[in-house]
Structure formats: C-alpha cells, structure tokens
C-alpha cells in the first residue's frame, strides 16, 4: 500500500481554516437570519394577555371581538391592540383577494391579572361567533391557575386531574412545558395548576391547558390566574 509522506497541518493552517470556517457559518447566519441581527422582539414585553383570533380579517371582525370581550367587566376599558398594526376596513376586505392567513393577534393590557378567566374569554368569544386558538399569558415570574370543575365525584376523578400532565396528549406532544404539577380538591372541585418559574418575556398558552382538561374529560367552568405577592419574585419561604 502506498502511504506517501505523512504530513501534519501546522497550527497556522488549522487556525486559518478554523477562522475561515467560522466566517462561513457567520455568513450563512447573516444572509439567511437577517431578522436575528435586527434585534426586533417578536412580542411586546408589557402585555399580559394575547389572543390568537382565528378569524380577524377586517375591522368588522375586530369590532365583534372587542364587543365580545367588553362584556367581561375586567376587560371593559382594557386597551386592545392588533399586533399587525392595522386591519383592512370592511369595504377594503369586500374587494380583497384570497389571503394566506385570515387570523391575527390581539394584545390586551390587563390591569389585574388575578381577574383573568380564560373560560369566560372563550365563552364570550364563541357567543359572538369568534374563537381564539391560543390565549397567551405572561409577564409574571410565577403564578398558578385555579380551575373550577363541576364534576369530581370520586377519588379517581381527583386522580385523573392530578395526573393530567402525564395523561394529556398535549404534554406528550411536547406542549404544556411550563406546567409543574396539579393538585385537586374533591370537596370544592378546585383544581390548582402550578406553573414553573417563568423567564421574563416567556408566555404560556392557556388554551393548551383548556384542551388538556377537555382531554381528561373534566372541563372547567372557570380558569383563573392567581398571582400572589409571594410568587411574583419574592423569596420563597419553604425550602
């Protein structure tokens, strides 16, 4: 077998090639990921609640969404903004051609997070003929949800609630990553869903949770956010 002379690369050659390769990687990154170099954030940092309305093509749709949400006392005067900036008027939409996406995001500034009830939001929207596929909530480092279920007749119901993280297909499919644990009280029908400690800017999707509760067959009639003083970042007393 002809081996030829065994040659090794010099340090300068290795460094040169390594730097050139890093340049290639940077070049690909800069060329194809321009949005990452502009530093624009995808989400407004201060909004506590964001709804993905599956159909929001014009101002007419928006009016109905707002009308639906304003039936909830805690959202009556809340500022609501379309994330995309503006929508077509009904007249413009009348003559517009097909679109790739007919939905949109609505960002809502809620004054008191403890008043948010996601079941009420869902019901109000459906009553008006609209629906939100995602209900994102964030801005707090730690919080929990309290759901009220009507049916919890036995220990197995309680068990099913508490085992929701492992039973729900949503979790198995990679969803509900924020969920830490669930505790259920049989006497009151209260289900407490503990969220994990959140990074600033991180958001969770309450619609995913409602879906998971439907999946285990125990749909809540209310799903409230509970943000206590201790859980907004103050040191936890229990160790």
């Amino acid at each position: 077998m002809m081996l030829g002379k065994i040659k090794f690369a010099t340090t300068a050659q290795i460094l040169g090639m390594a730097i050139a390769w890093a340049g290639v990687c940077m070049g690909i990154d800069f060329t194809f990921n321009r949005h990452l170099w502009t530093g624009k954030a995808d989400l407004p940092p201060t909004t506590a609640l964001a709804l993905r309305i599956n159909h929001l093509c014009c101002t007419g749709c928006l009016d109905d969404v707002k009308k639906a949400l304003q039936t909830l006392p805690w959202l009556k005067d809340a500022p609501m903004n379309i994330r995309e900036g503006s929508l077509k008027t009904q007249e413009q939409a009348e003559v517009a051609g097909p679109a790739a996406d007919y939905g949109g995001w609505l960002d809502i500034d809620v004054k008191d997070a403890n008043q948010i009830d996601f079941v009420a939001i869902d019901r109000a929207l459906r009553d008006e003929g609209m629906v939100a596929s995602q209900m994102q909530f964030g801005g707090y480092r730690h919080f929990r949800f309290e759901a009220q279920v009507r049916h919890m007749c036995c220990g197995m119901c309680k068990d099913a609630c508490e085992r929701m993280p492992e039973l729900a297909g949503t979790r198995k499919a990679g969803g509900l990553k924020w969920l830490d644990s669930v505790t259920a009280e049989r006497a009151t029908g209260k289900v407490t869903i503990h969220a994990r400690y959140q990074e600033p800017g991180q958001r969770i999707d309450a619609a995913e949770l409602l879906g998971a509760m439907d999946e285990i067959g125990l749909p809540p009639f209310s799903l409230r956010v509970v943000v206590s003083a201790e859980e907004q970042g103050a040191p936890a007393p229990i160790r």
């Binding site: 040659k7 730097i19 690909i28 194809f32 990921n33 400690y197 990074e199 936890a236």
Partner: protein
C-alpha cells in the same frame, strides 16, 4: 497503527502562555449576554434562589456568605489532599511494591500492580487494556460524526440544545452531514478539526455560555487537527503524547470552566436539579455542603455541585489522577445518559469516548512536573521537610484554584441572565 508526530514531552512555554491568555479571555467574557439554553433538559426553577447569597454582602468576611466560604474551603481541603497524595505517590508506590506486592505472588500481585499503575496514571502493560484503548480511540474518533448526524436530524447545531433557526437550518444541516461523512471516512481529518474548532468559534455569536458549554467538543477538534492529512489511509488507534496532553487539558478545562459557570448561572443549575431531584443526593456534593446554613440549603448545594465539577476538571486539566477522575466522569456521563436524562442526552456519547481515550492512554503526564522534580531531589534529605513542602504546595495550589475565582464571582453582574 499509531499516528506518529514526533513526541515532545512538554508544551512549549509560548503555547502555554497563549493557552492561559485564551482561558483568561474566556473567563472575562462571562458577564456578557448569555443565551445558552437547554431545550430538552428541563431547567425551570420550582422556587427562586436567594440571589444575594452569590453576591457581595456588607459586613461579611471578604463580603462573601460564610456558607460559600465554607464550601470553598471544604473543596480546597479535598483538592489539597489529592495533590499531597499525588506529589508523594512514589512513596506510596514503593510501599505497595515492597510491603504489599512482595508478599503476594501470581495473578493477585499482577492485578494489584496493574491497578496501582492505573490509579497513579502509570503505563498499564496489559494486552486487554491496550486493545480496549485502541477501541476507545476509534470510538472517540467516530462518535462525533453520530452526534452531528443526530443534531442535523433534530434541527440543531452540534448539540440538540442549540436549535437552528428555520431560515438557515437546511444549510447548517447539510454542512454537518458533510462534516460527519468526512469524519466517518477519516478523510482530511485536519480539515475536520478546523471545521469543528471554527464551528466552536461561531458559537460565540450566540453568547459565551453556549461556547463554554461546547468546550468539550474541542477535544474532538484537537484529535482531528493533530491527525495526518492522509488520515483516510491510516488506522488511527492510539493517541500520541501531544494528542493525549492537549485532549486531556482541554477536556479538564471544559469542566473547570463549566463548573464556574454553574455558580454564575445558578438559576439554571438549580432549575435542572429541581427537575431531576436525584442529582441533589450526590454524596461528594453533600459532603462539601456539610455544616452550611440550613436556610441556604439550595444555594449551598449549587456552590458545592459547581465546585465538585471545578475540582474534577482541575485535576484532569492538570493531570492529577487523570484516570481516576476521567473514570468518574465516564460513569457520571453514562448515568446521566441512561438513568437521569435519558435519550435527550445521547450526545454525551462523545465525551464518554474522549474520557475513555484519555483513560486508556499510556502517555499520561502531569502539569506539575517541576514540583515533582523538586520532590525527587528532596528524597535524599529529611522526609519531614519534604512532606511539609509538598503539603504547603498542595494547599497553596488548591486554595489558588478555588478561592480567588469564587471571590471574583461575587462581584459579577448577572442582570443579563434575567
């Protein structure tokens, strides 16, 4: 066939200075933007830590929390003990040979002798050990290719915890596969080494923590970079002296720096532990945290856990009981992969390969050669004086390795981690 670059027993002084400068520069980069993320290993904290524990506190000795100092000193003591044993290991070896092995015969004598050689990083002259060493080098040489393929199929760069941006994913995925093919076919390994090192340079674009997390990847880069250009024609089955030394040093350095970054980014450390509570019951870590403030249990655990990694990284980096510590790391990685984190940590297969290649090398050297030379010279004189001097060296080195950096970290700004 071993690839045989002329074997030089020492790093040139210039290289060492460069390495030290690079290491220092890397540490200075710590307070910049951190965007390392663990996509698969869960790291959400259940309860927040007391941040002030890790920072300067008025009215305290050196401004450090007493529990933090206590853990630092406990780690220094253990490190010093290992160093003393290392410096005086010839004495121990002599004792084993003259007082223990001489009374035995046959296979028990040979087995004990080989075990002593293994622990003291001396050449192990066993055919099975040699064969296993050859296999380990082949595994270390090729396993990064599997990791690259795995990353490509998971839309990630090198490790699954570095997800690729969808807009550029396809290019990086193809490039990773191309690199993996070059590695698997052993084609132009120096180019592969440069590509691995270059990719590591690129990781700094995502923040220093990502690059720090990936330092162990450099060990594979070094192996390739130090291989011959006609690598495809050779069976590379042994590491030479230089390869062993560089790979061992960088492998240890990676853990040394990762340990410090665990204290700096304490929320991430406790977050992973919160999700995998079995990590909290490590006996060595528990020992370091003994006697610390019970109200600061979680904070003391973070410091103990991180310093255990600093200590093991330091010993591997400096070549002190390399085989022993690399074996512990090997067991730890295997446990993490098979027991704690499961499939998500399958890329740990390449550091296991690296550790095995180092463990089975018969070219292990320590970076404390000058001190060992002093010890050898002093053997003719008083043993008390020799023991005292070696003890003083050991304590000094241990304290220098742990305490200044621990103190320095209490001044660092962690606001960019939030």
């Amino acid at each position: 066939m071993a690839t045989s670059k002329p074997e030089s027993p020492r790093f040139p002084a210039v290289s060492r200075r460069r390495l030290a400068t690079a290491g220092l520069a890397l540490l200075l980069l710590l307070p910049t933007l951190a965007s390392a993320h663990e996509r698969f290993v869960k790291h959400d904290m259940k309860k927040p830590l007391q941040d002030w524990f890790f920072l300067q506190q008025a009215g305290k000795l050196f401004g450090m929390d007493p529990s933090m100092i206590q853990v630092g000193l406990a780690v220094s003591v253990v490190l010093a003990a290992f160093l003393v044993i290392w410096f005086l290991r010839e004495e121990l070896d002599e004792f084993i040979r003259n007082k223990v092995l001489s009374r035995l015969g046959g296979w028990p004598q040979r087995a004990l002798h080989n075990l002593a050689c293994f622990i003291m990083d001396k050449p192990v002259r066993l055919a099975s050990f040699y064969t296993f060493g050859e296999w380990s080098v082949i595994m270390f040489l090729r396993s990064p290719a599997l990791v690259l393929m795995f990353a490509a199929t998971n839309d990630a760069l090198i490790m699954p915890s570095y997800p690729l941006e969808p807009s550029s994913a396809v290019y990086f995925k193809f490039l990773q596969v191309a690199l993996a093919v070059l590695i698997l076919t052993q084609t132009m390994l120096p180019l592969c080494g440069a590509m691995v090192i270059g990719t590591w340079f690129y990781l700094f674009r995502w923040g220093p923590f990502v690059a720090i997390d990936a330092i162990p990847v450099l060990t594979a880069g070094i192996l390739y970079a130090m291989s011959p250009w006609i690598s495809h024609k050779l069976a590379i089955t042994r590491l030479n002296v230089d390869q062993t030394r560089w790979i061992r040093f960088v492998f240890g350095l990676g853990f040394f720096i990762l340990g410090w970054s665990k204290i700096y980014n304490h929320d991430l450390t406790i977050g992973v532990a919160d999700n995998y509570p079995s990590m909290m019951s490590d006996p060595l870590v528990g020992f370091f945290a003994l006697g610390t403030d019970p109200a600061m249990r979680r904070e003391a655990w973070v410091v103990s856990f991180a310093l255990a990694e600093v200590m093991s990284g330091f010993m591997v980096m400096m070549g002190v009981f390399t085989r022993l510590w690399a074996t512990i790391m090997c067991v730890m990685f295997t446990k993490l992969m098979l027991v704690d984190f499961g499939w998500d940590e399958i890329p740990h297969i390449y550091p296991i390969g690296c550790a095995l290649a180092v463990i089975t090398s018969n070219y292990l050297r320590s970076e404390f050669n000058p001190l060992e030379r002093i010890e050898r010279v002093m053997r003719r004189g008083s043993p008390v004086k020799r023991f005292a001097l070696m003890g003083a060296f050991a304590v000094g080195i241990a304290l220098l390795a742990v305490m200044p950096m621990l103190y320095f970290l209490t001044f660092t700004d962690r606001s960019m981690l939030k």
